[in-house]
Assembly symmetry: C2
Homo-oligomer: 354 residues x 2
């Protein structure tokens, strides 16, 4: 493997000194980029794109060609895991992801197996290898997976949801069943992330998009508990390099202390928590990643710069901050605004370090 030329992102995750604050954007390879839309049109469906390692590599690298980002993130989808578990993922036009066979009954839960990632998700591992080769050490590559609870919401509901009636019905009425589902899914995610690490992912992130819809008690029992099991089961070193782990629970700002207890290296933050306040709460136990509202990218470059400065000052001097948006970049954002954002982070953060 080529030597890493820019290791700011990995250093920041491990709270080591950096020259400027590293920055990347959730969903940086996505629909706001015309070149992404072109590749997507060539690929066919969204899943065709995910399952084609060369095209997945192409879109992963597109934002890096435009912006001086400090990390690349594997182009894929969190729902590849339940798909590999046999649920039959498809994307209904304009309706988001759906599963042909949602998990509703005890029989459904018992039928779930833990897929061998190199077999059932070989296209992801191949994409990781192709991307690492093409990145050629420019920046590190982030692998990722959904949290078991977040995956369970889609697996039980059969797709996206607003009320989460099915999965919460199971949580409240058949917690035993849900725990079994989550346990199998946690095993699947652990193997999957370890396979990504073996294939070349240099850091991994667990996306808990829906942990924030739970009560504090249920968040611990049904979401955090399984993320902690995954963190404990991960290969934390590969090729002599430490592999940092980032946990991100959307709307999880009140539970940062408990999240830090999992042994993760870093926590993702959405914009509803002040990052300075968050830092005071977690102390020097973990790095923090975030946390600009993606809607700021609808504002002009001066306003973006001002917000970047506000967040940098709130975090304060010293290591341990990876700049990011608090959620994925929106599809209608002008890429020029993303450029202004990334430039502002690097320029304005220089004085926070060194």
């Amino acid at each position: 493997m080529a030597e890493l030329k820019n290791d700011r992102f990995l250093r920041a995750l491990m709270r080591q000194p950096v020259d400027v604050t590293p920055v990347w954007m959730m969903r940086q390879a996505g629909r706001y980029l015309p070149e992404y839309r072109a590749t997507r049109a060539r690929a066919g469906s969204f899943m065709d794109l995910c399952k084609n390692p060369e095209l997945a590599c192409e879109v992963t690298l597109q934002p890096l060609a435009r912006f001086p980002l400090d990390a690349a993130i594997l182009f894929s989808d969190i729902l590849t895991v339940p798909d590999a578990m046999g649920l039959g993922l498809y994307f209904a036009e304009g309706e988001g992801p759906r599963f042909e066979r949602p998990v509703r009954s005890a029989t459904d839960v018992e039928a779930l197996g833990v897929p061998d990632p190199e077999e059932a998700l070989g296209y992801v591992m191949e994409a990781v290898r192709v991307i690492r080769r093409e990145l050629d050490g420019r920046v590190p590559l982030i692998g990722f997976a959904g949290s078991p609870w977040t995956l369970a919401t889609y697996m039980v509901e059969g797709g996206s949801s607003k009320e989460f009636a099915q999965v919460k019905g199971m949580l409240y009425d058949r917690p035993d069943l849900l725990h079994r589902l989550l346990s199998t899914t946690a095993d699947a995610v652990t193997l999957y992330l370890n396979a990504q690490i073996a294939a070349g992912a240099q850091a991994v992130m667990i996306f808990d998009t829906w942990g924030g819809i739970l009560t504090p008690r249920d968040y611990r029992a049904f979401s955090l508990n399984y993320m902690a099991r995954i963190v404990a089961g991960l290969q934390r070193e590969h090729d002599g390099q430490r592999i940092p782990v980032i946990l991100f629970t959307k709307n999880g700002g009140s539970w940062l202390e408990a999240m830090a207890d999992t042994g993760a290296d870093a926590l993702g933050l959405d914009w509803t928590t002040d990052i300075g306040e968050a830092r005071r709460r977690v102390g020097n136990r973990v790095a923090l990643q975030g946390n600009m509202d993606p809607c700021l990218l609808y504002a002009g470059p001066d306003r973006i710069r001002e917000e970047v400065a506000t967040i940098l000052e709130a975090y304060g001097p010293g290591p341990g901050h990876v700049f990011n948006l608090g959620h994925g970049i929106h599809q209608h954002v002008d890429p020029e605004r993303a450029a202004a954002f990334i430039e502002a982070v690097h320029e304005l953060s220089a004085c926070m370090h060194g």
Copy 2:
């Protein structure tokens, strides 16, 4: 006016002793009740139902005929205010509320006026009067309005939204314009709630459904600030009775201390905050209303009872708790589950008082 026979709800809001914890449900007059669906079918559209004081009274009273609820809430919609401001509210089938004339430009904002509630919203005041007459003192009647920020999201987006690109674009790029919009809307809401109080509302609640999508700083500047102005402008006494005010910001659990500073009597809580923790934070400055996950009503009666007990114990003994769901009751809930919930609150809370 008939003397109030059950004043538990009002007493709890003012942190006075009660025999059992009072309970009502957000959206208790709604689609989960077959009798509501029947009245709605007779009325025509949703807005036809809102604008017909006799039918609005009929649906307001329906849940009281089924369950021993401790309060009635006016059947209406938060978007009646922007409708009265001239935006042209309509409900597209299966798509939720829309405005014919969204507020996007400086000209649009300047054109907004503060409607005279007895003129432009006379149907609401008439509904309040009819309901008070028909309630005949059984339980108090709650009036309500949307928070200026929450109303602004619909006014600027032209309806519901997932990304809030338009209103956040205005917030970040033209805060002056948004402040003007919010200021006019706050004046309109103040007059509207005072008119409801004059017509007979015995408590009022401000619904801030979308305050929780803001950064902590912007929540204060663009949402809480205007709710505080409304609280300060309300008639807090009518007919010799204190009129308590409840503030509810969905996903606002981290900002309770600041919300209590507004001078509101009570704060609504969704289920993502522990109510015992919340009580310790706000002390005896305000009462708390909440906070069971409405999805618990998909569980069996025993599980519902268990959750009610957990929340009662978390709040602890003493006054100042109004039991409620943390959000509106879902349309697919079996009314029998709602009955089990309400019964459990009254039965299990008796030992917390007296």
